[in-house]
Every structure is written in C-alpha cells, then in structure tokens.
C-alpha cells in the first residue's frame, strides 16, 4: 500500500474519530473524579484505581481508545510509523481542541490556539 493512498487516509480517519471520542470521554471522567494525587493521598492507590475504574464514562472512553489502538496497529502494519503517527496525531489534535471547547467547556484562549496551530504545523511537517 502506498503511503498516501485513500485506504491509508481512511485508516487514519478511523484512528482520529475513535481517539477523539476516547480522549474527551476520559478527560470528562477525570474532571468528574477530581485530582488523583489528592485521592491517592487520602485513600491510597487502590482507592484511586477504584474511583477511576468505577466511572462508566471512563470505561466508555477506554473502549473507544481500545478501538483506536487496534486501528493504529492495523495501520502501522500497512504504512510507515513516520506517516501514521504524525498524521493521525495532528488531526486528533485539531478535533480534540474543538471537542474540548464544545463538550468540556475548556477555555481555549489565544495562547492555546497558537500552541495548537504550532503543534499541528509541526506534526504536518513531520509527515512531509
């Protein structure tokens, strides 16, 4: 398979969609659970693990990440790491910024937009 074919980009798209869903669900779960350092200090590592694993939103996020992982493994089997990793990462980066503002109500200010643009350009250049 050539590195820039439609099938390669379809594999990258499936990685991006599932990774974004996983990231947003997981971040939302962690926001709801609270600072893990504080939970671990109060109730130890088992308490922190219980708090995380007991969250349905976290488990849904992990399911999306698992699908994304196997999509990544499949893609790496067919194309170069130096294309798949940066391309899927840069697109996931953009979709995550939109999703974080929309669903997590994060303050995506000028500094974060600038950082996102820089990292996106950088990752795209890495794939060149």
């Amino acid at each position: 398979m050539t590195s820039g074919s439609g099938a390669t980009w379809a594999m990258i798209a499936s990685i991006v969609v599932t990774a974004t869903a996983g990231d947003v669900l997981t971040a939302s779960a962690m926001r709801k659970i609270g600072d893990l350092d504080i939970i671990r200090a109060r109730s130890g590592l088992p308490g922190a693990i219980r708090a995380v694993v007991g969250s349905g939103r976290f488990l849904a996020g992990v399911l999306c990440m698992a699908i994304s992982f196997f999509a990544l493994l499949f893609a790496l089997n067919h194309a170069d790491l130096s294309l798949i990793a940066p391309a899927s990462a840069s697109l996931t980066f953009v979709s995550n910024a939109f999703a974080a503002k929309l669903f997590l109500k994060e303050n995506v200010d000028r500094r974060r937009v600038l950082a996102a643009v820089c990292v996106c350009i950088g990752v795209a250049l890495l794939a060149h």
Binding site: D23, D37, L72, A100, H128
Partner: protein, 140 residues
C-alpha cells in the same frame, strides 16, 4: 505547576513515543495482515516488541490520566506533544527512516507550541458543580 507535575508530563511524553516505536517494530516483524484475517491482530499481542509496547502504553495511560485529573485536555495534549519529536528521532536513529529538513522544521514548530502552552494556566476554572465530588468522596 509543581516539578512533580512536569515529571508526570515528561512520563506521558516518553512512554507514548517509546510505546509507539516498539509497536511499529513489532508490526513490521508480523508482516502484512489483511482485513480478511483481522483476528491475527489479537495474536500480535504475544510478539515481545508489541507486548513491550503495550506495557509502555499502560505506563503512558496511568500518567496521562493523572495529568488529566489536574489539567485541561487542551493543555495536556500540546504539553506532551514533544513525544512526536522523540518519535521522529527514534525513527531516524533506530528504525533508520529519513529525517528531512521539513521534519527538523516540524520539530521546531512543536517545540514552540509546547513552549506557548506550558507558560499558561493548566486548568480552566469552572464554578463548583454538584456532580464533581461524589466519586472522589466515594473512593475515600
């Protein structure tokens, strides 16, 4: 941001990039897998490189979750994106892939982006919500 939290972000960066590189080495050893035999992907777990990659990615996940518990997603992702630089360097020096001038430029852009985001606040302050604390309290 404390020094310990910067260490957690460094863990996110290093384990993710090393894990991806281990997976790539393992995937190349497996040879092509077609959509008709996609079940073979599950046997890939027993390849030592892929198993090592999975262990590193579990380390990544633990540190990533820790970071997300005290920082925004839009802070953690750019702050840990130095991992792509590490991947590029590993690709060149370990997997012997080509690292062109464009990729060096890419490394410079990513480093600048990381610099921008890490100089700002890590967390968006939201008004206290009634659904924020119950799970933390339940874990105590």
């Amino acid at each position: 941001m404390t020094f310990r939290r910067y260490l957690v972000l460094a863990m996110v960066t290093l384990t993710a990039s090393l894990g991806d590189t281990f997976l790539s080495v393992g995937a190349r050893q497996l040879g092509p897998i077609s959509l008709a035999h996609v079940g073979q992907l599950f046997h890939a777990i027993f390849n030592p490189w892929i198993a090592g990659g999975i262990v590193l990615l579990i380390g990544f996940f633990a540190s990533y979750l820790t970071a997300l518990s005290w920082a925004d997603l839009t802070y953690v992702l750019p702050a840990s994106s130095l991992g792509y630089v590490v991947i590029a360097l590993l690709s060149k020096f370990w997997l012997h892939e080509q690292l062109s001038l464009y990729r060096w430029l890419g490394i410079a852009f990513i480093t600048a982006g990381v610099g921008f985001v890490t100089r700002g606040p890590a967390l968006t302050e939201h008004p206290a919500s009634p659904e924020t604390a119950p799970e933390a309290e339940a874990a105590q």
